[in-house]
């Protein structure tokens, strides 16, 4: 069976493992190998279950291949290639290792046929992506990375609790569709775990909090894989769950509302991930063949244009040193190609005809209308207006125009960044012009024609008059410096209260104990010490000295491990966990 299936993760994991040992800079050429291998693997794999492993009596399926997993694998491979080209100039090996492991995790999740395999790759993604934030190496990123990791760990624990309870109840780890009316509490725990990664409001705040603080290429990777892997698992297991239809619609609107008041270009784009993923979650929640198709098509298109938008914003940040719109402006004269390539992404996300957002977004909305979900369809149109307003007009207007001339120092932008953007832009346009490129990959048969006179006119009316609205309100919408409170403020409040509930009683106990110790303990101790010192001088010294040297030696070794940095502990945990897995497996296999 293995001959029909090469797991796309292997090439990425292999590269991540050998990177630290390669000398010079030639290794950068290797960065392009895993995505190409993955693309070939995805195109050539045959449908069915591959990579079956029995681990401690549980049947693991590493490679479940069907239309749904292949379409995600397809776009993941393409985006990995685009991302690697965009990151090509980066000399930091750790960054490439983190990116490789992150992408490997995403592929692992998509092809996982059981919950245990899914969970392992899910956590790999979470850890590796945290490093993509930390490697930005600034105090703000470090703090944001901690918050990100904490939040995803909590999400992962929900997933773990759900899958263990499910295993106990059903005796199966199989990762299959769940019927909405038969869902039990453990299914909902799994759903919560998935919703954290899908950035479902109100579990979304990690996303706009963290993505703007990641490294420039790191954010390009992150915007593609985490939320879309979550969309995949939701589509796989939770199609037709009404709660998702409502939550998705709420996300779509919530994201655009926040984006309209944001100042940081990368944070605007982050809120639009929440919004765009909202369309997908809503489509999955409605659960008809057309809305599922719409959700999957939108995920595919979204990965391409959102990556392009993050690459464009990344170019601004790279060149100008800031992505804050109040500090930018007037850059069209100096970065015209960044503007043009960014605009391709912007019109794609806005659903302008002949770009790929149009052929996927309208499919989801049309599916909602066909299922007579009028309010959902109308709110998705509101989100479409807000998307064009913020990403299509506001962001480029205040970055590239709005000021007469920009005289700030600009760092030159590496050529590979332009090449990556051009590839993404080309794909966005090609898919818009030839919808069959995308439609033939979709899980259900497609009975939808994106281009007819009315659909073109409706989109043009909606977007053109959004433009007019912007023209009227351009003074009001002017971005200002500042950070808008979101649900993360609430999480922090809860966190602080929780910490307080432990630390305050402990501090009180500690206070009392200190007093008692000072009054009673010290006197007792002094008396004992006097006695002991006599005994010590006479007999013990010689024996103890030898032990002391040993203890000191061990102390030195362990102090080297205990750096006090979560980053190190995390790396050690993974290494130790891998070794433990291997040992348990080997021991179990030998029949002990």
């Amino acid at each position: 069976m293995w001959s029909d299936f090469i797991h796309p993760s292997w090439a990425f994991i292999t590269l991540a493992l050998i990177l630290p040992f390669l000398k010079g800079t030639w290794w950068r050429a290797l960065l392009l190998v895993p995505p190409v291998v993955a693309l070939i693997a995805v195109i050539s794999m045959s449908h069915g279950s591959h990579g079956l492993v029995n681990y401690l009596g549980i049947d693991l399926v590493m490679g479940r291949v069907d239309k749904l997993s292949v379409v995600f694998g397809h776009v993941f491979a393409i985006q990995a290639l685009v991302g690697m080209i965009y990151a090509f100039h980066v000399k930091d090996r750790a960054h490439h290792m983190a990116a490789c492991l992150y992408v490997a995790g995403a592929f692992g999740c998509v092809f996982a046929g059981d919950y245990l395999t899914l969970f392992i790759f899910w956590e790999l993604m979470s850890v590796a992506s945290t490093f993509l934030v930390w490697l930005n190496r600034s105090p703000v990123s470090t703090r944001a990375g901690f918050r990100y990791f904490l939040f995803h760990t909590i999400g992962g624990l929900f997933l773990l609790a759900g899958l263990l309870l499910r295993y106990k109840a059903l005796g199966s780890m199989a990762f299959d569709p769940i019927a909405p009316d038969g869902a039990r509490i453990y299914d909902y725990l799994i759903l919560i775990g998935f919703c954290v990664n899908a950035a479902v409001v109100p579990l979304h705040a990690w996303l706009p909090d963290t993505y703007p603080e990641a490294t420039i290429p790191g954010a390009v990777f992150m915007c593609a894989f985490t939320t879309k892997t979550a969309v995949y698992v939701l589509a796989r297991a939770f199609a037709g769950f009404e709660v998702l239809a409502i939550a998705g619609t709420a996300m779509a609107v919530y994201g655009v509302l926040y984006a309209s008041i944001e100042n940081n270009a990368r944070r605007i784009l982050s809120y639009h991930i929440v919004s765009q993923v909202g369309y997908m979650v809503a489509g999955i929640g409605i659960g008809t063949a057309m809305t599922i198709n719409g959700a999957v098509a939108h995920a595919y298109a979204h990965i391409l244009y959102k990556g392009l938008l993050f690459m464009g914003a990344g170019c601004l940040l790279h060149a100008a040193g800031t992505a804050h719109l109040d500090k930018l402006g007037g850059l069209v004269r100096r970065l015209p190609w960044v503007m043009i390539l960014y605009m391709v992404g912007a019109v794609s996300i806005s659903g302008v005809p002949f770009f790929n957002g149009f052929i996927s977004k309208t499919m989801t909305i049309h599916g909602a209308v066909e299922d007579h979900r009028r309010i959902i369809a109308l709110l998705l149109e509101v989100a479409a207006v807000g998307t064009f307003l913020s990403v299509g007009i506001k962001l480029p207007y205040f970055a590239f125009w709005s000021k007469a001339e920009n005289t700030m120092d600009l760092k030159p932008i590496p050529k590979n960044m332009y090449i990556a953007m051009a590839i993404a832009a080309g794909l966005c346009l090609m898919q818009g012009l030839y919808p069959q490129m995308l439609y033939r990959l979709l899980p259900n048969p497609v009975h939808y024609v994106p281009y007819d006179a009315w659909k073109l006119l409706q989109a043009s009316l909606l977007l053109a008059f959004t433009g007019l609205g912007f023209f009227f309100m351009r003074k009001v919408i002017q971005p200002h410096a500042g950070r808008n409170l979101d649900f993360d403020a609430l999480y922090r409040l809860v966190g602080k209260a929780l910490t307080g509930s432990f630390t305050r009683p402990l501090a009180a106990v500690d206070n009392v104990w200190t007093n008692v110790y000072r009054l009673v303990g010290v006197k007792v101790l002094m008396t004992t010490a006097r006695g002991a010192s006599v005994f010590d001088r006479k007999g013990i010294d010689t024996v103890v000295d030898g032990t002391a040297y040993t203890v000191r030696g061990f102390g030195r070794f362990s102090s080297r491990l205990q750096t006090g940095r979560l980053q190190d502990y995390l790396a050690w945990t993974i290494i130790i966990a891998l070794v433990l897995f291997a040992v348990v497996w080997a021991v179990a296999d030998l029949g002990y």
């Binding site: 944001a144 004269r333 307003l389 006119l457 909606l462 609205g469 912007f470 009001v476 979101d486």
Partner: protein, 87 residues
């Protein structure tokens, strides 16, 4: 080359700003005009049977969204950038 291209892009906008604006208004007029002849297959929301519905929808949503979010909601939510992170 890039510098020249950028200047050209910027200048075409600046030097012909009037023409661009007039062109935009004409474009909007044409779209609404076309709406009298091209209709949806069946109106799904009731009001969308009328020509110009989606034009009014786009304009209204934009103006209300910007006004409410910038003038009413943001003043309640915004904090200095540094403070919120360190807290």
């Amino acid at each position: 080359m890039r510098r020249l291209f950028g200047e050209k892009l910027d200048n075409t906008r600046k030097q012909n700003i009037k023409a661009w604006k007039t062109g935009f208004w004409i474009f909007l007029g044409l779209l609404v005009g076309a709406n009298f002849f091209i209709h949806p297959h069946h109106a799904e929301f009731g009001l969308d049977a009328h020509p110009g519905f989606w034009a009014a929808f786009g304009l209204l949503v934009t103006v209300v969204m910007v006004f409410v979010m910038k003038k009413i909601i943001q003043p309640m939510l915004v904090r200095p950038e540094e403070k919120i992170d360190v807290e």
